[in-house]
Symmetry: C2
Subunit: 190 residues, 2 copies
């Protein structure tokens, strides 16, 4: 059986982002049966505008995002916490991906949420806000394990490589749980 493809989306555009570094670590330590690909195009996706959301005006970056999300077996989303919620840039991408009505790339998509912050709460509030949004999109969000990477700056070296064994194990466990959920939902009902 071929590997499941998990598309990894970071809610931060910062070059030295801990959240993007977390996704790289998830890719580098992915368990058997799972291939993680980082999505690098979020910055290019313009602000959602209903006037552009048709076959004649759809921005290329929005189409690319929809196509990649549709093609993925699952998503791994790493969110920073801005003002107790998800960054606008991440919500914007989800708004594009969820449309048009009846053809949402997020509908019934299996998704794992993770997040990293330098503070003590590890994006707990942003992850809850994201969970609410992904309920609206009828996505299947993994309920555990929770990956709240607090004091993130202590867990990466100066090149952005994750060296904390607890977090590495948690990322592997998350991808294993995502794989199990994807496969179980595909199993034929007897």
């Amino acid at each position: 059986m071929s590997d499941l493809k998990v598309l990894a989306i970071s809610g931060s555009l910062r070059g030295a982002s801990h959240n993007t570094a977390l996704l790289r670590a998830a890719r580098d330590h992915s368990p058997d049966g799972v291939t993680v690909e980082l999505y690098g195009g979020l910055a290019a996706v313009p602000h959602y505008n209903g006037d552009l959301d048709d076959d004649h005006h759809l921005p290329a970056a929005a189409l690319d995002l929809r196509t990649r999300v549709h093609a993925a077996d699952g998503l791994l989303i790493a969110t920073p916490e801005y003002n107790h919620s998800v960054p606008g840039v991440l919500k914007n991408a989800l708004d594009w991906a969820s449309r048009p009505k009846g053809a949402s790339a997020l509908e019934h998509k299996d998704i794992a949420i993770i997040g990293a912050s330098t503070g003590n709460f590890g994006t707990a509030r942003a992850q809850l806000a994201l969970r609410q949004v992904l309920a609206a999109t009828h996505s299947h969000v993994l309920t555990g394990p929770e990956v709240l990477v607090f004091t993130a700056h202590q867990r990466f070296d100066e090149t952005g490589t994750l060296h904390d064994p607890v977090t590495i194990a948690l990322l592997r466990e998350t991808l294993e749980a995502l794989r199990t959920q994807i496969l179980s939902r595909r199993a034929p009902v007897r």
Copy 2:
């Protein structure tokens, strides 16, 4: 006494947006002592990127937004509801306005939230999500009246002019309440 200046921000970029039309109506029917100015620059504010948030890289549109929010006596925000929450473009603007730490344009800003949808719930969920974000920014959000403009398409004419007297009265009442709150917070403590 000169009029209080209320900056009106629409979370929708659509040309025929009901939310933008609602703000125009608020401007046209504003009560004595309040002048409403529509902010037209949201589309130009790029995605938040911490690498750009310093004196050397700050995008002109982000600076303009911060300057206008700082200068306003209060804000009137009209939000559509996308996936049970605020549009990414609106959250992105608030993310820029809330920074840098210690100089947030939203800190202690008086804000009224309104919203319009063609459905039956009038952006109730998006307004609650926005309220959560504006608690994080330490803004003073008006607790009432609530302006949940449901079945919005029935309340505007074909030119986008609000003709529903109940909604017009509610907008005036909201601006009056915002004015009262702004002035009361400025009153000297005896």
